[in-house]
Amino acid sequence: MKFCTVKQYFDDENNNNVTNGIATTVIPLPNKHLKIKANNKEMEQYEQELLRNVMPQELTKLILAANYLNFKEALDFFCRTVANAIQNKSVDYVRKFFGLESDFEPGEEEKLCKEFAWSFEGVDED
């Protein structure tokens, strides 16, 4: 199933979702997964290794590629990676990370922050 989509991608000339560089990162993943599925520690190390070689800007392209290729394990891995990276960050950091802007009315955001003020404690410095 995975290989059908890959073939489709290579045949599809108008596809600009996935560049060659991405393909070389994403496609070897299933084999690696199968090899070290049992060992969680090894998997973590492999994931760290992989991320070190990937520029942060590429991460979004990797996610889109994995999504396009319908590659569930890679999608899970990349989403988990992003979740781990942002989980202890501030609201501002997350906005910049995803290119989002606050669209709340003045005062509305402050009210929301106050509701769970304790959730802002212990957050990483930007």
Binding site: C79, A83, V91, K96, F98, D103
Partner: protein, 394 residues
């Protein structure tokens, strides 16, 4: 990544909604509560019941569940005015090592909280006072909010039993209260159900044919009542007939939280005499545990029955020095309390109880570091109870 690098530009390569949700669903509750402030669409995503459910499912699938234990309020604790610590300890599912503590953020008139149940990390407590269980609270420790339920709609509360469950079809939390009547001969009990979505109680007819010759009935309520496959269960001990024809019988009352209907379930056929029996859950199935006299002195024979299509006896094992059955863990280990050695504290001899985990297959025992009578429940993080009337933050 120490500097926030712009992950994407708004014009192209914008992450579609379903991807953003895939990332969000993997986040812990504390992060999600904070990220509600990122923008309006994130605020909306995080509040939808579907997302809350998916977040819960993700936690369950990825072993982010815990075990919660607290001192059990008992009759003797109340009679001897021994204070209740009000602390719930959250412990590891596997090792039972304490991870952190939660202090109950509300107080009861009697000062004694009674754990009614736990569903998806929402805890239900009531006031252990003269068996009225009048005040009921729902508490979500993950988001630090609790809610006191409105007063009963029944005219009279007596010898009450409560049950707490989750209606997965309607995404609604429900509490059931069954109250006995003081009239003689004892009529069938009254029942009412509370739903979080309507924030109100509603009378529910028992709807089962109550045996006409019942002269007395009471709930066997040593443990929190099991919520299994969308049904709450209670065991009722009854005395049928009068005079010479008196018979002691038991029945299981089950309540479907979705259809809000009661049903009677049979007990296992094997009615060999036993000292006591408890209704509980074993690996997400309804279970019955019976204790009978063993061969050795100080040893009880414990029979475990599990309800599939019908009752099935899966194991019989001897347990020495048993004083209390607490429950089964998610992995099917038996948690009991045993009589321990005499301990000298402050020049007085005190008999301490010890809590022990027993594997029913291997009979391997492991002592865990808790020495009071326990109430236990499964616990996990949950975003539910986020918005609602009469919800208190702390």
């Amino acid at each position: 990544m120490s500097q926030p690098t712009i992950l994407l530009r708004r014009t192209n390569n914008h992450l579609p909604e379903e991807i953003v949700l895939e990332i969000l669903v993997r986040l812990p509750v504390k992060s999600l509560l904070r990220f509600r402030c990122v923008c309006k669409s994130w605020y909306r995503y995080i509040a939808t019941p579907n997302f809350i459910n998916n977040n819960l499912l993700y936690c369950n699938d990825h072993n982010r569940g815990f075990f919660i234990h607290m001192p059990k309020t008992t009759g003797s604790m109340v009679s001897f005015s021994r204070p209740h610590g009000q602390i719930c300890t959250v412990a590891s599912h596997h090792t039972f090592e304490a991870i952190y503590e939660l202090r109950i953020p509300f107080t009861f008139q009697s000062g004694y909280p009674h754990l009614v149940g736990s569903c998806n990390g929402i805890l239900c407590f009531s006031d252990y006072r003269s068996f009225e269980f009048k005040d009921v609270y729902l508490w979500n420790p993950s988001i630090r909010k609790f809610k006191k339920l409105p007063d009963t709609c029944l005219t009279h509360l007596f010898n009450v039993s409560l049950g707490f469950g989750f209606d997965s079809q309607n995404n609604d939390y429900k509490v059931v209260r069954i109250s006995q009547s003081t009239a003689k001969p004892m009529p069938p009990p009254d029942a009412e159900v509370y739903s979080l979505s309507s924030d109100s109680w509603k009378r529910v007819g028992l709807g089962i044919s109550w045996r006409s010759n019942v002269v007395f009935h009471k709930f066997n309520c040593t443990l929190t009542f099991p919520f299994v496959s969308g049904n709450l269960h209670w065991m009722i001990e009854m005395i049928e007939g009068g005079g010479q024809e008196r018979r002691f019988t038991s029945m299981i009352l089950s309540f479907d939280v979705n259809s809000e209907k009661f049903k009677e379930l049979p007990l296992p056929d094997d009615e060999g005499g036993c000292i006591t029996k408890c209704l509980t859950s074993f690996k997400e199935q309804l279970a019955l545990i019976k204790f009978g006299y063993g061969v050795q002195p100080h040893s009880l024979l414990c029979s475990i029955w599990v309800m599939g299509d019908s009752w099935n006896k899966i194991r019989v094992l001897p347990i020495e020095n048993l004083t209390d059955f607490i429950g089964f863990t998610n992995y099917g280990l038996l948690l009991v309390q045993k009589r321990s050695r005499l301990v000298s504290t402050n020049s007085e001899l005190e008999r301490k109880h010890k809590s022990v985990l027993i594997d029913p297959e291997t009979l391997h025992e492991k002592e865990i570091q808790v020495d009071y009578r326990l109430d236990v429940a499964a616990y996990m993080e949950n975003l539910a109870l986020l918005d609602g009337a009469n919800v208190v933050s702390y």
